[in-house]
């Protein structure tokens, strides 16, 4: 039987198609638990999961916490602003101290790409990457793939447009790795200043105009403009960005009639997506993504805890 032979979940890049399929199928079985009156199963009773978040997060942190709690694990949240990080403790020292308290899984979000990989090599616990810099965000890509598969039946052969700040987006990177492994065609679009050089090497088509990218798309994935990462001025103003790259009622007509619109959140309304599209239950699957996110994270916690051996 197929199993996930991994200690850690660090990125989609090093996952096989079989592993992705196994995670998505397991996650689909977990969906039902969140619909019960008693939303809890005893599976991970006695396990401890530490959510170590060095960057702000609502969705991902809450989602991991709920996932752990619905599996009966004890979840502990640490955010950098209220921890010894403010006293100058290094990531490695923090991790060694947490390791000494013997948790089972550490979920790490960090602004430095590669931070989870460093931890994974240092501590014996399983590490889940909940976003490292502009590198990867594997659980987000998995929940996105789960949502697309739920709505479209499959991933292979679909045209997926990813729009916005590709350069700074770990969501884009993980999705590009995942979706291309699964056989989707990916087109990315964004201002030249937000487009990584040689992005075509990742197997995607790159355009400058939103309209070119979303034409005939089955899926349009809008990325958040990461104001916190815009230290250098890579666009003149939000208004100008919105004029060219905001998904709205008019330009969405270029996509397939049954297009689904995704966004990893949080949304800058009127910047990357107009409110009427974000709130349109006919095409927006943004809240389905959040719902599936809990199931995907339950699957990851379960599988790392030996639930798939």
């Amino acid at each position: 039987m197929m199993k996930l032979a991994k200690k850690d979940i660090l990125g989609i890049r090093d996952m096989t198609v079989d592993e992705i399929n196994l995670i998505l199928e397991t996650a689909e079985s977990f969906l039902e638990i969140s619909t019960r009156e008693i939303k809890k199963v005893p599976t991970l009773r006695g396990k401890s999961i530490i959510n170590l978040f060095y960057e702000a997060s609502t969705r991902t942190r809450t989602s991991f916490e709920i996932a752990g709690k619905r599996l009966s694990a004890d979840t502990i949240n640490i955010s950098a602003s209220t921890s010894s990080v403010v006293k100058g403790e290094t990531l490695i020292d923090t991790a060694r101290n947490l390791e000494a308290m013997n948790p089972d899984i550490i979920v790490l979000r960090h602004s430095a790409a590669g931070a989870p990989h460093l931890l994974a090599s240092l501590v014996r616990q399983s590490i889940i990457n909940a976003g490292d810099g502009a590198h990867e965000h594997p659980s987000q890509a998995l929940l996105d793939m789960m949502t697309i598969r739920e709505k479209k039946g499959q991933l292979a052969g679909l045209k997926v447009a990813i729009i916005g700040d590709i350069l700074h987006s770990r969501v884009a990177r993980s999705n590009i790795y995942g979706l291309s492994k699964m056989g989707a065609r990916i087109v990315v679009a964004g201002p030249a200043t937000m487009m990584p050089r040689n992005i075509e090497q990742m197997g995607v088509k790159a355009c400058t105009k939103l309209e070119d990218a979303i034409t005939d798309a089955d899926v349009v994935m809008m990325l958040r403009i990461q104001l916190e990462r815009q230290k250098q001025n890579i666009f003149p103003s939000l208004r100008e960005y919105a004029q060219h790259y905001c998904l709205n009622r008019k330009n969405i007509k270029l996509a397939k009639p049954d297009v689904i619109v995704m966004h990893p959140g949080p949304i800058n309304r009127g910047v990357e997506i107009s409110p009427d599209i974000a709130d349109d239950p006919g095409c927006s699957v943004i809240l389905d993504q959040v719902n599936n996110g809990v199931a995907v994270r339950m699957a990851l916690l379960y599988m790392l805890s030996g639930g798939n051996e």
């Binding site: 079985s29 638990i33 009156e37 599976t43 030996g306």
Partner: protein, 182 residues
Amino acid sequence: MPEKKSPRVVMDSEGIERCLTRIAYEILEKNKGINNLVLVGIRTGGIYLAERLQKKISAIENTKIPLGILDITLYRDDITKTSKKAPLGKTKIPFDLEDKKVILVDDVLFTGRTIRAAMDALIDFGRPKMIQLAVLIDRGHRELPIRADYVGKNLPSSFWEAVSVNLLEKNGKDEVLIEEET
């Protein structure tokens, strides 16, 4: 090393059908009809047996009673220990269990641990009036105080033997086999 004996057929297709027909009548007799009666099959063998019982009961009573599917993987007591595990399947209980008489259906009753897990799972869904257990084969070796209300066949076996129930729906053939475990 002694040669491994080939599996022995202990029940054939007709035998399985007769057992299920008898169990269907026993369920109706014991519960005095189908009022508040629901079937829940334990993944995977129990699902097909529960479906067959549903058909037999509806043929007798002219009413289809509700059928649910239970995957007990998440309720196992050996989740991080055992090496033999089926992938997690979906649980579907598309009805309220409150005050229902639940007939839990499984193919083989062995240690009783699966049934313990199944009862825990069912109770998380609501408070059934009662839970009864129907199994095709009871092979003994209980490790928990659990017994079946309806048994197709009592099959004395050694702890190390393997009893497998093959069903048309998943194996293409109806038969119960017993073989020496190596």
